[in-house]
Amino acid sequence: MAIDKFRHTISTAVPLPIENVDTDQIIPARFLKATTRDGFGENLFRDWRYDNSDQPIPDFVLNNPIYRGKILVGGKNFGCGSSREHAAWAVGDYGFKVVVSSFFADIFKNNALNNGILPITVSEDFLAQIFSEIEKDPDVKFEVNLESQTFKITSTAVETDFDINPYKKKCLLNGYDDIDYLLSISDKIETFETARAE
């Protein structure tokens, strides 16, 4: 079953300069009762986005129309906490294709990649530059090129490389998923199981 392909995007970004954004903030536990993968974007950052009476909290970045785009930029240790993939589904369902931070929690990073969302790790200095450029001009665009593994601030033309596992890069570029790959080596799995049983 294919994941969404990702190759290249030029987009404005939504800044969330908070450290340790945990998966309970991304999607609170009470919204995990669904049995499908759809519709989680509605509750992305629910308790930061809406008050007790479900009214939008104007200060929160997702409620501010000047900030929009396919790129979410978060503070250090983004996605820590629970393994809930619902967090990646919520980020993707809301419309983000890329999440940028100076540091990602491992499970969130895997979950994002398994859903065609590209997590990009940049240095703390570069992250600070991104936040400062958005602060100056919320319409500033960023260019993400997976093929060349580069992330560019278009206003300053400052560019940085980013790392991605070559296998995961291939998956994203082609829309492959891990299960397809594992099914293709089922003879190796069989051999392993037989050898261990002996």
Binding site: Q25, G81, S83, E85, N165, I189
Partner: protein, 467 residues
């Protein structure tokens, strides 16, 4: 060069390596629950696949179950649907299920060890980050997302990059009143909530050696709270004694063979870790958290750091956190008023935890301002607590006994701490809203939670122990 315990187990389970990519790792045991598995079953059904090894898969509902009136149909429609879906999926695919009201039902990480499903040298996964708990048995156990649950259901394998290795050694003896929960909260407070990201941790040293299996489970459980992929402790006689005779444990000659294999599960003297950390047991006090991640903890007699002591980059997050908690920088923790006490969860919902609370509160009454919930980790824990008279002691003290489940640890069901209220909790996360929208959580050991329940405010449990 020698190998670490982690390398030995990992290498024995690698089926294939993708060039420049992740390893294909074979999974011995897969635990599943109602919240992170339905989409995975949908996925394999859509592909027309079966569960590859149903006998390596065990299911129990825990995250989303009510903790009162479990014999009645679940009232919340969505929760009921999710729990029913687990039953349906397990029936369809021939997976063993300990459903609601089954004598073995409980929190998945309490159930695994108590049934002997968890054994040394295994690879184990579950769609829950606290799967690291099982590392207490010398097991590579880690939490996974739902796409990965689907992967394991379909192929019994997972694609994983090999993590780096860290050893955390704590030598010396713990002071009176300092428990395994305090040890792990101390380590996290020292290295931060992201201090072990990218690593798999081995816990070594006298302190972990002297711990009971349940205490070791508490430590390994919270490995994820410092970002680690998992944490493990080399198995020893205590491990073998714990596993022996349990439902899934090897029996007869298989047991002897297993022991022969398990005794080799240790880190070679000349093995090298990517990072080594050492702590001294004498420096550890009973711990309490004051902020909104598990790294924001202090010794209970201490105070919240001053803004001036925080690096400038971290100040906005630190201040946001304190504002949420309603605390000020530099505040002393002792004496702060508390509204709720929650004893339970996969971190501290086992029989030893309930015993430690009952021993402490026996003959005392909870403070009037406290609502105290005790949620056993499983039906077996509940049964044992009744048998030992623990339930009577706790109820006489004014605690409310609930039925097994994850409960107020993540507040998916109705067990929620109200907005603005303070809860001292034996669980694992103090994130904003974790125990209910607007709730404020202070993480601590069962012993500290018991002392707080009696006095109604933050107190050093040692001051009561001495009397």
């Amino acid at each position: 060069m020698g190998k670490t315990l982690f390398d030995k187990i990992w290498d024995a389970h690698v089926i294939d390596e993708i060039e420049g990519g992740p390893s294909v790792l074979y999974i011995d045991k897969h635990l599943i629950h109602e919240v992170t598995s339905p989409q995975a079953f949908n996925g394999i059904n859509k592909r027309g696949l079966k569960v590859r090894r149903p006998e390596r898969t065990v299911a129990t509902p825990d995250h989303n179950v009510p903790t009162i009136d479990q014999h009645l149909p679940i009232k919340d429609k969505l929760s009921k649907y999710q729990v029913d879906k687990l039953t349906e999926n397990c029936e369809q695919h021939g997976v063993e299920l300990y459903g609601l009201n089954h004598p073995y039902q409980g929190i998945v990480h309490v159930v695994g060890p108590q049934m002997g499903i968890t054994q040394p040298g295994m690879t184990m996964v579950c769609g829950d980050s606290h799967t690291s708990t099982h590392g207490a048995f010398g097991t590579i156990a880690f939490g996974i997302g739902t796409s990965e649950v689907e992967m394991v259901l379909a192929t019994q394998c997972i694609l994983q990059p090999k993590p780096k290795k860290m050893r955390i050694t704590v030598n010396g003896s713990l002071k009176n009143g300092v428990t395994s929960k305090d040890v792990i909260l101390y380590i996290i407070s020292e290295i931060s909530a992201s201090g072990a990201t990218g690593f798999f941790v081995e816990y070594a040293g006298e302190v972990f050696r002297s711990m009971s299996m349940e205490a070791r489970m508490t430590v390994c459980n919270m490995s994820i709270e410092m970002g680690a992929r998992g944490g493990l402790i080399a198995p020893d006689q205590k491990t073998f004694d714990y596993v022996e005779g349990r439902e899934y444990a090897p029996k007869g000659t298989d047991w002897d063979k297993a022991i022969a294999k398990w005794t080799k599960l240790n880190t070679d003297a000349d093995a090298v870790f990517d990072e080594e950390l050492k702590f001294d047991a004498a420096d550890i006090e009973p711990m309490i958290t004051y902020g909104t991640n598990p790294g924001m903890g202090v010794g209970i007699t201490g105070s919240i750091p001053s803004v001036g002591d925080i690096s400038s980059k971290e100040v906005p997050s630190f201040q946001k956190s304190l504002e949420y908690m309603g605390f000020k920088d530099g505040d002393v923790m002792i004496g702060k008023k508390v509204d709720y006490v929650f004893v339970g969860s996969c971190t501290n919902g086992r029989i030893e935890d309930l015993r430690s609370v009952a021993d402490f509160v026996k003959g005392k009454k909870k403070a009037d301002n406290i609502t105290a919930w005790i949620v056993p980790g499983s039906k077996q824990v509940e049964k044992q607590a009744i048998k030992e008279g623990i339930v009577d002691v706790l109820e006489e003290a004014g605690f409310k006994m609930r039925q097994p489940g994850c409960s107020a640890c993540l507040a998916m069901n109705d067990d929620k701490v109200p907005k603005g209220k303070y809860a001292v909790s034996t669980s694992n996360r103090n994130f904003e809203g974790r125990q209910g929208p607007g709730s404020r959580t202070l993480l601590a050991s069962p012993l500290t939670a018991a002392a707080v329940a009696i006095t109604g405010k933050i107190i050093d449990p040692r001051t009561i122990l001495q009397n």
